[in-house]
């Protein structure tokens, strides 16, 4: 796995786990890879993966079944989505707003573009797993 320079590795690994949950590769109540297996797959120190898993347990994305390993929480998908949304609103949106202001782009123009983007990339027949909030 290629790691970006601007974020701690343990957070990037946590994001990788969250991606797999959002993509439904790892559905709720499924066991996630052991610390050792994920460390081997990603070529990282097992202690780093341990730290990512502790972080995700604290966020209640995954939970520990005694002696069996870590599992995706029943509402893991919703939790990841909520955390991502909070992060987007706090980090990415202000950045977008700043550019909209500087480049004089109206909210209406963004809305139109967003609609055509959705119809181009996501056909209306395939429902998203959860409706828009």
């Amino acid at each position: 796995m290629e790691f970006k320079d601007n974020e701690a590795i343990y957070l990037q690994i946590a994001a990788y786990v969250c991606d797999n949950i959002l993509l439904d590769k790892w559905p709720p109540e499924q066991k996630i890879p052991s610390v050792r297996d994920l460390a081997i797959e990603l070529e990282v120190n097992p202690n780093t993966v341990m730290r990512s898993y502790e972080f995700l347990q604290k966020q209640e994305v995954v939970y520990n079944k005694r002696g069996l390993g870590l599992f995706v929480a029943a509402d893991g998908y919703e939790t990841v989505k909520r955390l991502r949304k909070e992060n987007f609103l706090a980090q990415n949106l202000p950045e977008l707003f700043k550019n909209m202001y500087l480049l004089d782009i109206s909210a209406k123009e963004i809305e139109e573009r967003f609609e055509s983007f959705k119809s181009a990339n996501y056909s209306t027949t395939t429902d998203k797993k959860n409706d828009e909030n």
Binding site: D5, L42, E43, N47, T48
Partner: protein, 281 residues
């Protein structure tokens, strides 16, 4: 696991390489030993396993003095040297002769490691290329299953796919009972594997901290402008200033080992003070 107390060492008719050096290494970690050319990295490693004898001070392995070379130490440590001298034997023959010295040696592991590193077990070792010899000895070293595994520049000579396999192997063999020490200049090969950094500079270990402790205290980043920041060290880079600043927001950045190494070895005292402060804030 390893305790170095007041180590002084110098080669004959040369100034001391280490003066009153103290260092403790514990199991469950992958240590990365960094230092400039000639700082004494290899010499320090040799002192740890009884291949060089301290002038003063001592090195203990689980309480035993390694300079006495007791069997209890030798059978539970493995040192992969940077330069290898291999016999005119195949890996299979070599293992029959030498595996027996290590009680926890696993023949099955050895052949498994040879396979993933793409080494023919029937090739004669002194006819192999340097990279192949290195990989054969890496496989052997890992298969000894010793509590302490020391490797001096293990990625030198490895091709690109072998480096990937090497990282996977190292990730797979670290257990809570094992201590791995890797000395290297190729920090990019190993920066996601090392959890604790040791920097040897000016006859001392100036840094002995986990990556977590380091990034808790200082932040690495690229900035357009560092004028209003509390900069500890900076270098000009392609996208702006690569800088190390105090960590004030509690967020963890990704450590830039090269930048960190340069900062430390250029005698950045304020940086070292922040790292070594017993309690921060």
């Amino acid at each position: 696991m390893i305790e170095i107390k007041g180590l002084c060492f110098g080669y004959r008719r040369k100034p001391l390489l280490f003066k009153d050096l103290d260092l403790n290494l514990s199991e469950g970690h992958i240590y990365g030993l960094l230092g400039k050319n000639g700082a004494g990295k290899s010499t320090l490693l040799k002192n740890m396993i009884g291949l060089a004898y301290p002038e003063k001070g001592k090195v203990l392995f689980n309480g035993s003095n390694v300079a006495g070379r007791p069997v209890s130490v030798l059978e539970d440590v493995y040192f992969l040297a940077e330069e290898l001298f291999v016999p005119s034997l195949t890996p299979g023959q070599f293992v029959t002769n030498t595996g027996v010295f290590y009680p926890k040696f696993s023949i099955a592991d050895f052949y498994q490691y040879l396979k993933v590193l793409d080494i023919d077990p029937d090739s004669v070792m002194d006819k192999q290329s340097f990279g192949q010899q290195k990989k054969t000895m890496i496989a052997f070293g890992l298969a000894t299953n010793t509590s302490l595994l020391i490797m001096d520049e293990p990625t030198n000579g490895l091709d690109i796919p072998s480096k990937v396999q090497f990282r996977k192997l190292i990730a797979s063999v670290l257990t809570e009972d094992r201590c791995i020490v890797i000395s290297t200049h190729q920090v990019r090969d190993l920066d996601s594997l090392i959890d604790t950094l040791l920097i040897l500079h000016d006859r001392e270990i100036v840094v002995n901290s986990t990556v977590e402790e380091i990034t808790e205290r200082i932040t690495f980043g690229v900035f357009d402008n560092t004028k209003n920041l509390d900069v500890l060290y900076e270098e000009d880079g392609m996208r702006g200033k690569n800088a190390i600043i105090k960590n004030t927001n509690g967020k963890f950045s990704k450590i830039d080992l090269e930048l960190f190494f340069n900062a430390v070895t250029q005698g950045n005292n304020s940086l070292i003070k922040i790292l070594n402060a017993a309690e921060y804030e």
